[in-house]
């Protein structure tokens, strides 16, 4: 092996770098934000560029939970169970104001922010957020993953 043909790294950094480009997300889509999620996932905005192109529809195969849309009190136990079923390491993205704070659904039926149920890593505000906001949130999530930061 000649000089310059190898490099050194910390194992954590190498794993973090690998993980941040292989995001298998579980889209927990309950409402209108789902349209914006689909727009972001499809070819025009193409989140496959960030290694997040393959949604998994089983929580056991996913490592990022995208909570996309209003969560009602009746749906809260379902979301909690989905989160518990995911294997570690896992991250949670709150997509849209309804998941961040309840949004304008300040009423008897809506959970006032999913962080009352499960820990959240990234909040993407907007009603619904534009794909640019989603990609910005996704890149912030990648930074978190690369440093190994988790909230579970």
């Amino acid at each position: 092996m000649g000089v310059g043909s190898f490099f050194t790294s910390k194992l954590d950094e190498a794993i973090g770098w690998a993980r941040k480009y292989s995001i298998f997300q579980y889209p927990f889509v309950t409402a209108c934000c789902g349209m914006e999620y689909m727009a972001t996932a499809c070819s025009h905005y193409d989140i496959d560029r960030f290694g997040a192109g393959l949604p998994r529809f089983s929580p056991r195969q996913a490592d990022v939970l995208f909570v996309v849309g209003t969560i009602s009190h009746k749906m809260a136990p379902v979301l909690k169970r989905i989160y518990d079923q995911m294997t570690e390491p896992k991250w949670v993205v709150a997509f849209g104001v309804c998941t961040c704070t309840g949004g304008f659904y300040d009423n008897y039926a809506t959970v006032q922010g999913i962080d009352t149920i499960i820990p959240v890593d990234i909040y993407i505000p907007g009603c619904p957020p534009r794909p640019e906001s989603v990609i910005d949130g996704l890149m912030k999530l990648q930074d978190r993953i690369a440093t190994g930061a988790q909230r579970y």
């Binding site: 009190h73 009746k74 809260a76 136990p77 379902v78 300040d106 008897y108 039926a109 959970v111």
Partner: protein, 165 residues
Amino acid sequence: MDGAAILEQLAARFGASIVETHDHRGDHTAVVDRAAITDVLRHCRDEPALAFDMLMDLTAVDYLKFPGREDGPRFEVVYHLVSLPHNHRLRLKVRVDEDDAVVPSAVPLWPIANWFEREVWDMFGVVFAGHPDPRRLLMYEEFVGHALRKDYPINRRQPLIGPPA
């Protein structure tokens, strides 16, 4: 049959059980005494000249503190009937007090009333006597109160429910 004729026929047949009638822009309404509502509904469904074969909607209104109705019965249960053969419509109302908010169930007449009445029970707390499955429809079992009552506090927060053990 046009709406005014339907109201006349009902008034002729049921007399004092039809408390009042009115129409507004071609929509005809009869307020019916609670004791007679099942008979009136059955008559509307089975009489060939009426033939209301469809219960379009069943809902309720809370008139708490409504201007001009402070003294009257608090709740009004509203039936919207449609006849597909005759293409005519009718609205029936039953007034009930808060202390005695019980109305006979319409499930034996129209099975669709099952979920409508569960929703009205869930949101307003009106009991439907004889309902085969009197559970909440929209809210969860642990929910306390009835959310669409005018005296349900708009900012009341109830505890989160967890996954079933």
